[in-house]
């Protein structure tokens, strides 16, 4: 991938942010009334609602600055490193020389930047197994001091965990009760239709019985 191919990312929280504008505390309360989740979970959602709202707003607001300033710089370093990782022993010195900068850049990746997280996911397994890199095919593997092989993996896993927790928290606080309410409404509508069928059955049975009685009379 080149810099030109790096996908321009819109704010990943745009939709959630717009949804938040409509999800007032009152609307959330209405959803919670219908939702089948436990009272304990409901209390937790009420407690987390303001924090989640604030977190999403902050993350959303900081996206523009990150996208314009940080992202291109990080991507450029990661892309150069990606090319060096696939190069032969002639690039060994450059490769070793760049790893500290890559680590610094990786630490600055926004956890919701899926394109750069993907780039990091391509890089860290290669860095973790330097023996498998063409640059070190001569068997001269750099020491841990020169090549902190697990560091990029640690950064990726920490960021991945943070992103997952943030998204799970957003879902559980903002959408869970709404989806459950929608599911309950659909089930209720189906139950209503089934009840009409049963009522009509009763009507038919009643008409049949009435007809038999009238015939006898």
């Amino acid at each position: 991938m080149t810099m030109d191919q790096l996908p321009k990312m819109e704010n990943p929280l745009q939709e959630t942010n717009e949804f938040l504008l409509c999800l007032s505390a009152g609307v959330l309360e209405e959803q919670l009334k219908i939702s089948k989740i436990s009272d304990e979970q409901k209390s937790l959602i009420r407690l987390k609602y303001d924090d989640t709202k604030r977190e999403i707003k902050q993350a959303s607001d900081s996206w523009a600055r990150y996208s314009d300033k940080d992202r291109p710089e990080i991507a450029a370093v990661m892309l150069s490193f990606g090319v060096l990782l696939d190069s032969g022993p002639e690039k060994k010195t450059q490769l070793i020389g760049l790893i500290d900068k890559v680590i610094t850049m990786a630490e600055r990746i926004n956890v919701l930047d899926t394109a750069l997280m993907e780039m990091l996911a391509e890089i860290w397994p290669k860095a973790e197994w330097p023996q498998t890199l063409p640059a070190f095919s001569d068997g001269d593997i750099p020491s841990g001091a020169l090549w902190p092989r697990y560091r990029l993996k640690e950064i990726f896993e920490t960021k991945h965990a943070r992103a997952m927790e943030f998204l799970l928290n957003s879902y559980n606080t903002l959408y869970k009760s709404g989806i459950q309410e929608a599911t309950a409404a659909l089930k209720k509508k189906k139950a209503r239709l089934d009840a009409i069928v049963r009522t009509l059955d009763t009507c038919l049975a009643f008409m049949n019985a009435l007809s038999r009685i009238l015939c006898r009379v």
Binding site: E118, E128, Y175, K190, L193, L200, L204
Partner: protein, 319 residues
């Protein structure tokens, strides 16, 4: 008089047909719900795969760290059994290895827990689409149509018996009317909650992308770890990891075969990610078309969407 009474009924019937034919049919909603349910289920299995790859990746990492700690190939301890410093060194190493394993286990348990929570999100959405599908494919509207039709027929017979000139209603009206009501109910349901469903799906998509990226990284790690720990290390190192016994030799040959000849988890992961993104894009576009009503989705298109998700599901299971 009879003729006069049937005219508005025919008019109503024609307008009802027109109204019904302009809407997405219950069959379409049912197929759409089926696709949504299948997609949610596949993402749930994707979360399971992520957990498996995570644990395997950590195991390779642990083995590599252990080899580093024990010295190249893990053979140094064997070479100096009588060394005076050997015992405290060995104890220190054992302690560090124990701590390393505990930390790795904790990290993996936390990752598995997060993947389980992601599965719970998938399960919420699956339940929603299942409920939508149950309403769309319910035989209650047909039952209502038939039973109400029977009641009207009976009433008509009784009316005719009492007075043959009194106009009677058409019993065939009920079925299309109830069908239309169900379709309207489904459409309203999707439109009213469009923002919630879209928002939840968007978070679900971001979660799914995180899981995919995690899978891609760990699949590549697994491949590299596999090659290094099971093929290269036993081949180049002496000591405990040497290929000595016939069983070791046989395993090594097998490992090498599977590693070089199509056992690449990274390649499978790439296919899965590609399938996942295509499925999501098709599904999201279907949702837009179902809720805006700007462009009707044919049952064939929905069938194609469902097939696409089934193919994706198969590739997830192959990893």
């Amino acid at each position: 008089m009879k003729h006069h009474a049937s005219t508005p009924v025919s008019g109503l019937f024609i307008s009802l047909i027109a109204l019904t034919s302009s809407c997405t049919s219950t069959r379409n909603y049912s197929k759409f719900a089926e696709a949504g349910s299948a997609y949610s289920a596949v993402v749930a299995s994707l979360a399971d795969k992520a957990s498996v790859l995570q644990v395997d990746g950590t195991s390779y990492e642990l083995l590599a760290k252990r080899a580093e700690l024990m010295g190249s190939g893990g053979g140094s301890e064997r070479r100096n059994p009588q060394n005076d410093k050997g015992k405290p060194e060995k104890e220190g190493r054992s302690k560090r290895l124990g701590q390393m394993l505990i930390q790795a286990n904790e990290k993996d348990v936390a990752a598995i827990h997060r993947n389980r929570l992601a599965k719970a999100v998938a399960s919420d959405l699956k339940e929603y689409f299942d409920a939508l599908g149950a309403l769309a494919s319910s035989d209650a509207p047909a039952g209502i149509g038939k039973k109400a039709g029977d009641i009207i027929t009976r009433l008509n017979d009784d009316i005719r018996r009492a007075d043959p000139v009194i106009p009677v209603s058409s019993s065939g009206m009920i079925s299309p009317l109830v069908n239309h009501m169900t379709e309207a109910m489904l459409r309203d349901e999707l439109q009213q909650r469009k923002q919630t469903i879209e928002g939840a799906l968007e978070v679900f998509r971001l979660l799914n992308m995180q899981i995919e990226t995690d899978i891609a990284g760990h699949a590549s790690e697994n491949d590299r770890g596999f090659r290094q720990m099971l093929i290269t290390e036993p081949f180049i190192n002496g000591g405990s990891q040497a290929i000595r016994e016939p069983a070791d030799i046989s395993s090594w040959i097998q490992y090498r075969q599977s590693s070089l000849n199509g056992n690449s988890k990274a390649a499978e992961a790439d296919k899965i990610i590609d399938g996942s993104r295509k499925s999501y894009a098709s599904f999201r576009s279907a949702l837009d078309r179902m809720t805006t009503g700007r462009q009707e989705l044919s049952i064939e298109e929905l069938g194609h969407l469902f097939d696409e998700i089934v193919v994706f599901s198969k590739s997830v299971n192959s990893l």
